[in-house]
Symmetry: C2
Subunit: 333 residues, 2 copies
Amino acid sequence: MVPSREIRLKSRPTGALSAANFDLATVQVPEPGAGEVQVRNHWMSVDPYMRPRMNDVKSYVPPYEVGKPLDGGAVGEVIASRDPKFAKGDLVQSGLGWREVFNAPASTLRKLETRGLPPQTFLGVAGMPGLTAYVGLMKIAALRPNDVVFVSGAAGAVGQVACQIAKIKGHKVIGSAGGPEKVAWLKEIGVDEVIDYKAEKSIRQALARAAPDGIDVFFDNVGAEHLEAALAMSKTFARFVLCGAISQYDTAEQPAGVRNMAVMVPRRLRLEGFIVLDHADQNQPFFRDMTEWLTSGRIKWQETVEVGLENAPTALMNLFKGANLGKMLVKLA
Amino acid sequence: MVPSREIRLKSRPTGALSAANFDLATVQVPEPGAGEVQVRNHWMSVDPYMRPRMNDVKSYVPPYEVGKPLDGGAVGEVIASRDPKFAKGDLVQSGLGWREVFNAPASTLRKLETRGLPPQTFLGVAGMPGLTAYVGLMKIAALRPNDVVFVSGAAGAVGQVACQIAKIKGHKVIGSAGGPEKVAWLKEIGVDEVIDYKAEKSIRQALARAAPDGIDVFFDNVGAEHLEAALAMSKTFARFVLCGAISQYDTAEQPAGVRNMAVMVPRRLRLEGFIVLDHADQNQPFFRDMTEWLTSGRIKWQETVEVGLENAPTALMNLFKGANLGKMLVKLA
């Protein structure tokens, strides 16, 4: 028996998350059974999509269950193995975050080859968020020469990668983020025009100054007013890649609404929502390109780390306050 | 010299059109010059897109000019020709509606072969509105087996064709229109479920009853509340073909806004605005299919006719009141 702590969903939030929605419980993990591996998590991912999963709504992933531990991306170390494919000390990726130690069938784990990168990058720039940025720009938007690219949530886990991929591909990039620290980071990674949306009265007007001739691609992580501004400043045949709408996840209020959808007809716009899980065909090209970009230093990243499982709920709540620069992570061991 | 009357834009409307925005003028049309043809219009088209063209806004067609005649699709008869390709009595299509008689270079006219159809159908079901419905469903939505198709403005010039093409292709079709006469017409042409949006408190709830399992394709001519309802009832991977937003053309008020755009991400929706002019590749397949459907009686149509050029402004104003069943036309001679 190994003691482990886990975070459970205590109650479904109505509106903004609070500590009362979470439970910290201690369990005893038995020896792994035949074909199972025992893992101690080192890092867990904290992602915007986790918030809608707390609601009792059918979606592309089932909702979290009240009284049960949450889950999500994690990187850990094998501490016991009853499967020949894994040995003690192996680093593994799993979908069993929000807990310290677990047993799982070997088939549900992926051995992590870090290729010299810090292991937690495989929850960020080299993992799902990086792949999301890659799929959104390379496949959904299908970047074309001279596209002007606007990224909202530009200093987040996905946004920071989207900005840099678009720069590598030679585009003018406008990024929106909240606060001077994020603005400075985006300038450091070469974003051409940075909008501090918290300091602007009108995102639309700020975007008009940043991209006076309009935008060809919008990579949206935020929704609502950002989407309305991007529609207003769209060029003919612009493509909008809708990746997330974080402004709307942690609230019970319905957003004000996007009032200028009618421009989509005369401008022939295309808006497309996507989920990275549908695009496994991009795994290999992403792996190849991102390895090169990271090892050559062409792509940089930021991460914001909370330490200790007990602080994971705070990390998630902070995500919706925009407190993270880059990828939000919890360090568990 | 031949006397002719024409409708000019007297002033740009601010909000809903009124008679004061139009001028009826009489001009003398000289003999046609070399290479020119003189035409007397028999029919002119009245289309929703004409309203935004009255605003001073850059779009895919230049705005109408104050003091100049309006223009638009028309069918007429050659009354004099100084080009060997046209003879007196030929029926021709042109972009020079809103006037009775005109001279134009032969190259700007298209000889009309009616193939036994009434000539005005080439302004409707067999012309641009029919092609618009065809392009939207066959190319933009790219109908797939078992798609449930929702059409707004279903009893209009484009909508009535979209409903029938979707039925011919074997789909369940839900149509929305305003008033019992339109509802009866849509039932007559085989629409499976008809929503009288004027009689419903909530389009969303009416759509939920009509398509309890959701919709795969939305062909939108209306925008605003219809779009919000369709988003609410969209199935995963649904495709929205945005053809028009007539609810928003004849008003200075900004619409309430579409509040549920965030569903686009988890449901992986695609929304695409289009303009039929971009899709000349569909002319031949449309011509082939529509000729067959019309001559076999598989596609029926309605038209609403005002008589006399002086009533063309009324016809246009009535379009935004939903007074037309099917294609809105003005009979000139």
